[in-house]
């Protein structure tokens, strides 16, 4: 079975580690790619520089506060690109400010999840993302790598 490919865009090493651990418990094989700033995310998605051989992800987990390009800019880039806009993007941020939430929806984010501060709650949130997005939702097939 082809693993589900998730691109995590996150600069906090603790959150990267926790997300990785939480996905290890998943019922379905998940390939997790990680990039640590917004510019890298765009390079990954457009196969620039060191990401020449990167595969288009099935799903994106995107933080907002990121170096170089923030999550809103990355989201806008994806949803404005004919070849990428079908990729579901989940914002995963410590922010719950109406400004961030509304801006994300107006740029066509697929959903907005506020990162809980408690470790167990964080793992729970990753589990519910997995439960919903991997087990229930039908993701678009990226023909190129399927």
């Amino acid at each position: 079975m082809t693993p589900i490919h998730i691109l995590l865009v996150e600069d906090n090493e603790g959150d990267i580690l926790l997300t990785r651990e939480a996905f290890k418990e998943a019922k379905i094989l998940i390939k997790l790619s990680v990039v640590r700033d917004g510019e890298e995310a765009v390079n990954f998605l457009t196969k620039q520089g060191e990401y020449l051989l990167a595969e288009v992800p099935d799903l994106l987990l995107l933080d907002i506060n990121l170096p170089k390009k923030n999550g809103h800019e990355v989201l806008q880039f994806i949803k404005g690109d004919e070849g990428l806009k079908h990729i579901p993007v989940i914002i995963l941020s410590t922010s719950s400010s109406p400004k961030d939430v509304n801006m994300a929806y107006s740029h066509y984010v697929n959903c907005f999840i506020t990162k809980p501060l408690d470790v167990n709650d964080f793992i729970g949130v990753i589990a519910s993302i997995e439960n919903f997005w991997i087990s229930i939702v039908r993701l678009p097939a990226n023909k190129e790598n399927k």
Binding site: E82, K85, H86, I87, P88, S96, P98, V101, N102, Y105, S106, Y108, N110, C111, F112, I113, T114, V125, S128, I129, N131, F132, W133, S135, I136, V137, R138, L139, P140, A141
Partner: protein
């Protein structure tokens, strides 16, 4: 007339609608649910037209569950109308389809559907999917904060 709707269910298949409402009720999520049976009625509700003229549009659904294949106006057409209007483009829309159909999932995502769910055929699986879906959109997801 129901004025504050959290879940708008747009479904022409009576048994699917019943199972969906039932599953959401069991999770306590169906208190503010409105069921309409076709795309035209969905747009009337969303844009406060026809039977819903005068409805307060400031209160927006937390999620719209939209069947793809419907008479009059199909789900994709309804989705396009929602996404192209400034007042409604941020409302989350979950597309529901029966497994026998094979519509272009990628196109729906490109048109801005928030998620796309194939309704499981088996009863228990159907209930489970709807429950997870309801909890995810009503509780886990952050809603747009309207003025």
């Amino acid at each position: 007339m129901m004025t504050e709707v959290d879940i708008l269910l747009v479904e022409d298949n009576a048994s699917d609608a019943e199972m969906t409402i039932d599953a959401l009720k069991k999770s306590g999520l169906a208190n503010k649910l409105l069921h309409v049976k076709d795309g035209a009625a969905a747009l009337d509700f969303i844009f406060a037209e026809g039977a819903y003229t005068g409805r307060n549009t400031a209160y927006k659904p937390k999620v719209i569950l939209l069947d793809v294949k419907m008479p009059k106006l199909n789900g994709i057409e309804v989705l396009q109308r929602i996404r192209t209007d400034e007042h409604t483009k941020t409302i989350p829309v979950v597309m529901l389809t029966s497994s026998k159909e094979d519509p272009d999932i990628k196109t729906c995502y490109a048109l801005g559907v928030n998620s796309y769910v194939v309704k499981p055929v088996e009863f228990d699986e159907f209930q489970k999917a709807i429950t997870e879906l309801g909890l995810y959109w009503m509780i886990v997801n952050q809603q747009t904060q309207y003025e």
